[in-house]
């Protein structure tokens, strides 16, 4: 293999480039990123960066003096993958030919149809998004967050800290019920009310009010919530349009084996755009966690370099964290298959809790709120049980 192109220059792409060098690949390495920035860390964008306690220099993912011997093509969006030529086509007309291709194009924030061009309406995914939102939040006012998921909740928490009047609107009866289940979803989203942030659940958004600038969120039940700033946090979609017709099989992102391989030889996919097969569950899962983007490239690169001749290891249970209203929230595993949730330490009312999710008596997931020590122990046990 003489040239490898990594398409995507965020955590998954950088981790793939590092894995290539760590695993002994010494050929040409091209990293292609559609944003103009060097790889940066996204989790602080909704928290410390938005609050102004971390600056842009703190977000840099590369270490001082780190040199991967890569050619960085930044501000260069990939528009196609030419299977016959084994080339990545870029928006500016350039082509990058490569023997090995790593797809790490991530995901993009979903938007609200009809909100385009209305000032004061934000999504939060990129550094540029975060800069724009930070500047608006600094002016204060009434913020309405559409979507009570993790991004929405973190933005609400940060804005509360900054002194804004905050309302969160969630279409489902309980926020976070998907990732955390109904019971613990209610406990975690209870943090909003604890801090005087309004949470409106079980009601959809009909549209936004305002001519050139947003002035209200219109709810499906007829209510109108006045707003100076709106953040739309309704999930992300995988950025894989550029692969249409390339021969890379797409299904909720790039459909991958348990080792990151795609339907094309010499092409692997990692990070938020990759829908990896989970052999334990017997189904594909597209995981958007930071830790997946950081850990899975090791396996995918081993696959790429070995031509698919390696046996994939058993991945750790997926893990993510969130910081809201000063509470450290940690979760590992899959809540979906659980038939019981037990609080094993602390109490839900105190928002200081360790909860274990079980299926047929076996732990399948663990949630911690301000319990890093116990959470880590349980997370370790979970990995032992599920491996």
């Amino acid at each position: 293999m003489r040239t490898v192109a990594v398409v995507g220059a965020s955590l998954a792409g950088l981790s793939a480039a590092r894995s290539l060098r760590k695993q002994g690949y010494d050929g040409r390495l091209v990293v292609i990123g559609d944003e103009p920035h060097r790889p940066y860390d996204r989790p602080p964008l909704s928290k410390e960066f938005l609050a102004g306690t971390l600056g842009e220099a703190d977000l840099v993912l590369e270490s001082d003096g780190e040199d991967l011997g890569a050619e960085w093509l930044l501000g260069a969006r990939a528009t196609g993958l030419d299977r016959a030529d084994r080339a990545v086509r870029l928006a500016d007309g350039r082509q990058v030919r490569a023997d090995g291709i790593v797809i790490a194009t991530g995901a993009a924030a979903r938007t609200l149809p009809g909100s385009e061009g209305l000032a004061g309406v934000h999504t939060l995914r990129t550094l540029d998004d975060a800069r724009a939102l930070r500047d608006e939040l600094a002016r204060g006012g009434r913020l309405v967050v559409i979507g009570g998921g993790f991004i929405g909740a973190e933005v609400a928490s940060t804005a509360y800290t900054l002194g804004l009047d905050v309302t969160v609107v969630e279409a489902a009866p309980t926020p976070l019920a998907g990732p955390l289940g109904e019971t613990m979803g209610a406990v975690v989203s209870g943090l909003h009310a604890d801090h005087g942030v309004r949470l409106l659940c079980g009601v959809g958004v009909k549209g936004l009010g305002g001519e050139t600038r947003v002035d209200a969120v219109l709810l499906e039940d007829g209510r109108t919530v006045p707003a100076d700033i709106v953040v739309v946090g309704v999930g992300a979609r995988p950025c894989v349009e550029w692969l249409e017709g390339s021969g890379v099989e797409l299904d909720n992102g790039v459909k991958c084996g348990a080792d990151g391989r795609t339907s094309l030889a010499g092409v692997v996919a990692v990070g938020d755009c990759a829908n990896w097969y989970d052999p334990r569950a017997g189904l594909h899962r597209r995981v958007e966690h930071w830790t997946g983007a950081r850990e899975r490239p090791d396996a995918a690169i081993a696959t790429l370099l070995a031509g698919g001749a390696v046996e994939p290891g058993v991945p750790r249970p997926p893990y993510f964290w969130s910081d809201q209203y000063g509470v450290k929230i940690q979760f590992a595993g899959h809540a979906g298959g659980a038939d019981s949730v037990t609080v094993e330490e602390g109490t839900a009312d105190d928002r200081n809790v360790l909860a274990v999710y079980r299926r047929a008596g076996q732990p399948v997931a663990v949630l911690g709120m301000n319990q890093p020590r116990l959470f880590t122990r349980l997370r370790k046990q979970l990995a032992a049980v599920t491996s």
Partner: protein
């Protein structure tokens, strides 16, 4: 030299945090070795004594950067700087730590707090 605890009171696979400033954690690995490093992750205010100990590495309990107990080196983001390592002496069944005189790499929030700034 700071006495940490009795070796017999620190089972293999466990860690103890010494509440000095900045705190230091002492690890007893599954292979029976004892190491001391700075307790605070260089990325954010997290206690490495609460972390995931595997072999000679500890993974930060919050964001999964791994530190090598022998060298203090960090393997992966979000942390970028190493922690200090400290000399460990075991005498008459007691673990002692000789705290390094190097400057610690504390995370921005902790460093500003120690400097008297806003947390």
């Amino acid at each position: 030299m700071i006495p940490a605890c009795r070796l017999a009171d620190l089972p293999r696979g466990e860690a103890i945090r010494l509440d000095i400033d900045p705190p230091v954690s002492v690890f007893h690995t599954d292979d029976g070795e004892v190491f001391a490093i700075d307790d605070t992750c260089t990325h954010q205010d997290a206690s490495l004594a609460d972390g995931w100990l595997e072999g000679c590495e500890v993974e930060c309990p919050l964001h999964a950067s791994k530190f090598d107990l022998r060298t203090g080196a960090v393997d992966a983001p979000p942390a970028k700087l190493p922690v200090r390592t400290h000399e460990v002496v075991i005498e008459d069944g007691t673990i002692y730590v000789q705290v390094s005189t190097d400057a610690p790499n504390l995370p921005p929030c902790v460093a500003s707090r120690l400097a008297g700034g806003p947390a």
